[in-house]
Symmetry: C2
Subunit: 509 residues, 2 copies
Amino acid sequence: MDGPLLVLDRRDGVPLGAQLVDGVRRGILGGLLAPGDAVPSTRALAAELGVSRSSVVAAYEQLAGEGYLELRQGAPTRVARLVVEHEASAPPPDRMPANPSGRAALGEHPVHRIDLLPGSPSTARIDERAWRSAWRQAAAAPIPRLSPPRAGLTGLREEIADHLRRARGVACTSDDVVVTAGTSDAVALLGAALLELGRDRDARHGTASGPPVVAVEHPGYPSARRLLERRGLEIAPLPVDADGLDLAALQRLPRPPQAVMITPSHQYPLGGRLPVASRLELIDWARGAGALIIEDDYDSEFRHLGAPLPALASLDRLGAANPANPDDGPRAAARTVLVGSFSKVLTPWLRIGYLVLPGDPALRAAIDRIRADETCPVPGVAQEAMRAFLASGALRRHIAATRRDYAHRRRMVQDALDGLPGAPLSGLDGGLHAVVGLADAETSARIVARLADDGVAVAPLADYSAVAGVRPGGLVFGYAGVGDALLGEGLARIRAALVETLDLRGDAD
Amino acid sequence: MDGPLLVLDRRDGVPLGAQLVDGVRRGILGGLLAPGDAVPSTRALAAELGVSRSSVVAAYEQLAGEGYLELRQGAPTRVARLVVEHEASAPPPDRMPANPSGRAALGEHPVHRIDLLPGSPSTARIDERAWRSAWRQAAAAPIPRLSPPRAGLTGLREEIADHLRRARGVACTSDDVVVTAGTSDAVALLGAALLELGRDRDARHGTASGPPVVAVEHPGYPSARRLLERRGLEIAPLPVDADGLDLAALQRLPRPPQAVMITPSHQYPLGGRLPVASRLELIDWARGAGALIIEDDYDSEFRHLGAPLPALASLDRLGAANPANPDDGPRAAARTVLVGSFSKVLTPWLRIGYLVLPGDPALRAAIDRIRADETCPVPGVAQEAMRAFLASGALRRHIAATRRDYAHRRRMVQDALDGLPGAPLSGLDGGLHAVVGLADAETSARIVARLADDGVAVAPLADYSAVAGVRPGGLVFGYAGVGDALLGEGLARIRAALVETLDLRGDAD
């Protein structure tokens, strides 16, 4: 390297460590440092810049975590073979991105060089030794000749209950947990149970009340909605605003819903968080109506702004009656089912999720009957491996490390896209995706198409509409699934597409 | 040991090897040899009996495979800690037996010392080294950040197609295969596709034709039937006889079915095999009606009597038109979907199954749409492990070895139960379960209850009824899931229960 790699500004309010990280990162992205180049030793750089060696070590470690540097025991630290080169290759045909519109047929996806479709986490920091060891341990156990137990392996259910007590404040035990093949299977199981409970009620009362109604957020998670419709449930859309679900709309529905499916911690996709007062109101309504609240807690482990709120299920369970305890009679029973998975905190490759059930004996009996016929779909070995991985503490460490990465990526998103007139950035208080508001669906579709031509995949907000014919304008994209370098490139292209399509050149450049 | 272990009869028509195996087995079961006892070395026994040493080695290996002997490199061969002791302990709470009636709640199963409920294979001979190596290999791969591809991993689909070409004569490729979480998920996916196709048709023609009808066997597989009903499909029962499905009844149904679900290779549970003429007739009907044949090929790898027939799907594909080829226009397209799993040939613990689809583009598009929303539920690591296990040849070897074990167990069943008046034994031409016919459901229920008191779990045939109020008499039990010693004990108790309940003492003893 010729000349100084970076100069620190001691008057700047930015901490020296952050300046160090930022300087090296810019050196790499700007081409000053090429892949494979050795960077100065921590001792040499510390001396040159007049900072402590531990600051440089910390900065290099962060950069290695972000994929910029390669640390090797006993060898000089080098600039990584760039994440760009590595990730820019077409995904293997086996790894087609999930598509919220669900329209393209298998094998017909355009291959995007920079896949920013929401839903992909970063897997770069998974402790591979703990991962391999968990699977090895699971595969070494004797091979049973039966299906996995209906509710899932007790050991895994205990670890999940433990995880939720710590991470989400939900006072639950393994008895409340049902292991599922991800969120889809969890929602499908609840849908089947609602249908069964509806038929039972009709049979008891000699009525024909029609299919159960599930109120869903609009815009909201499209595949869960279609999954329920496909199974014959009726969907009632409820509008969301900056605070999440509009509860007043719940009272105006033509048929009272048997369930409300909601993302209270971080509305999907718009990002609002349901305030505590609304949570209490929703719980009151559900207890009064005997309806279920289906809480989809899909990315709440990652909260970037504001104190995290415990799960709605946690609030609901506080002071709720236990139906198994006759002394609890006069108090109302909890009505919230928590739906979660390891897709966002680890990888959707795993297909492992869970339900946390309230005490409701009829709901539990229906789910037990369904699983008795259809069996728990999660392979026993995968359940045992997940149990071992959780027990090792590797997930807790992974979430902590990844949370820092996502906070950094989130800043990259803000740096690139905040403040564009007519394109407000939102949804960034938590999670791993963001939303760019746009005036109409047509402009959005043009921008999505232009980005696709540019090799960048993002989703139009219109794909999340729960009302036929209503197509809100906006873009939804994830910032976790690709490395920093690719994300930076993708964000630059999104900005360019917005600036050109919205004709903001004068305003924004 | 005092005195000769056994004496071979050279005039007897039974081969000396079989006499050898039989003699040692009787010695162990009769208590002549105790668990832990060393048996004579192969050299010593060969010399004593005047047979070749390789005959003794082969006999010891077979007995070790059956669980009677323990072979250890460099140590004397010993009588195994008896399978009875090992298996008689209560199953861990995680491993409750599948229950065809689906009535008891989780945790309420009586614990049976000898679990002969149908559906459990033997896992004793699984090549554990190949198993562990497959999972290790799968866990060592980089961890993707996406869901598994909709139809499953291409590599696994190729191995499944290869397996079916060899084992079932089905000329298919990986493009025809969809990976599922066992048979339940496969049937559920087909049910969802039938509902979707029905709605599409109604929308096109402006009609409201009601839920699709699926014709099922009566008696037949109860949980698949309930699964379809639970999803809103209409079930039409068709009687079965000794040859399997009664096709004439198909014409008499009040509403024409969109699909027929059938077990042509080995009717579940009665055991009949659909003759080729009926297969052709069924295919003709399906082509004419545009209906699907859902072939549940659940245990056809194990055929004990008569030449195995290729899958019905294989016959259907012969000479069928390929919808992708416009020149094939005038010929009819295949209508059979093959449903299979690794639950019987390996273990239901795996939860891996598959569909083999005919060319039908509308069906394929519907399944693709559903999987796009709901994702493939099988963990990527489990798919990769199964691919590696298949590629290693371990499944092929396992099936060959297990087939011999089951043939032996089947003879044990015949020896114990054949020829009891009023209790005809059937269903034994293939697979891993048997049926005892009984005059009525009340007698059957009495015998099932008595056996439960005796610690033996079997299923009443009435649980398989597809017609409300019709309860055929009979018992269904599996002979694969427990070791020889436990099976022998269970069969003796079944025989005793039959003899006493039917008052056959004079006839049968």
